[in-house]
Symmetry: C3
Subunit: 155 residues, 3 copies
């Protein structure tokens, strides 16, 4: 019994809690960045958002697509597709009682790779910088999933 | 030890469990709403979904885009981008042992703001109604993240 | 106290852990599949990804849309919209102390339905195969949500 409670109150779980919160806040920043680009470039997805334009004709013109806004949105979508798996598998991994050093390595590599991924994506840096940061994050999650499945497989 | 177990079996955790389930069910309703609009307006994303049309020519015409369907899909996407962070951070926040009253305030404000957000989005109500409901939900999540990071930071 | 700890260390929780990890790994496979289609069909979303083309003119032509890539992306999006609710509600459901047999039924039906959904979507099998697999997964999640709300409602 003490063992299980230890797992939930452990330094591993505190570390997971910290890194998961940081990387989720980073993902939420993408929403703010999308809004910022939409407002500064006057590019909207909904007619009711174009309140600053005067005539109906002008308002309709602001409902359009823009390469920079689309880029930020793709980056946000990639975050959703990768950070959600990290959070779910990281939580289960934390409960399997891994070494603190090995858990910290996984969390730091993943969170670091996602920050680099965002910078490479938004600034359109030359490949393979973005592909590498995506791949490193994926490997960290798969490595944690491997531990979850090998320590607590129950089909 | 008793303290940790208390946290998981606490009224705060039960409240989180209830509000998280309600807001996730609301998000799942968006899938049903998309299907409803697609069927009633005969607007499909895949050729194999157009089974009611007779000729191949007619079927191809039904694979198209529609402003109302796209609006519901954007609302669904915004739910994903905001409800997932709430669920992750809300779970970790519940484990930090907050006051019941302050936890309930966060959960109710967030869930309420998302219901209002959906109504304002789907009915295209004038701004800033949608922006405000989005912002209020974001603040509730950020406020919980602040507590998680201040009570259990472990880098 | 022993009861709560039992819930977290129980076979139900191990089963949830296993099935959640499997279905999340399946979802992550969609990222790989998208990359595979983009590379083999030379269809890219970003100008910096078209490194194999020589001239700027050739590179711009590779930033385009393709029906097969879009199909895989829609399948991935549907996974996000359905697997995230399963994971959240499944975790809360596991903590309500359900029978092992009934929990396994829910997890197996959901995970099975999502594998079938992916096959029907990617291979464009005739409807209602995809609609049925989507519906079966939805019902499994709603059934677990019903138990969460009836056993631990706290508003």
């Amino acid at each position: 019994m003490a063992e299980v409670v230890h797992m939930i109150d452990s330094e591993v779980f505190l570390a997971f809690s910290t890194y998961a919160t940081i990387v989720i806040l980073k993902m939420m920043l993408m929403s703010i960045m999308t809004s910022y680009y939409r407002l500064t470039k006057q590019v909207f997805a909904n007619i009711e958002d174009t309140t600053l334009a005067k005539t109906t004709e002008d308002r309709k013109k602001l409902v359009r697509s823009d390469p920079d806004v689309e880029r930020v949105r793709r980056c946000h979508q990639n975050d959703l597709e990768n950070i959600v798996p990290f959070v779910v598998i990281g939580l289960l991994y934390s409960l399997t009682g891994p070494d603190l050093s090995s858990a910290l390595l996984h969390f730091r590599v993943f969170v670091g790779s996602r920050f680099i991924h965002t910078v490479t994506y938004v600034m359109a840096l030359p490949q393979p910088s973005r592909a590498l940061s995506f791949g490193v994050g994926l490997c960290a999650t798969v490595s944690m999933a491997y531990r979850v499945l090998t320590t607590s497989l129950f089909l």
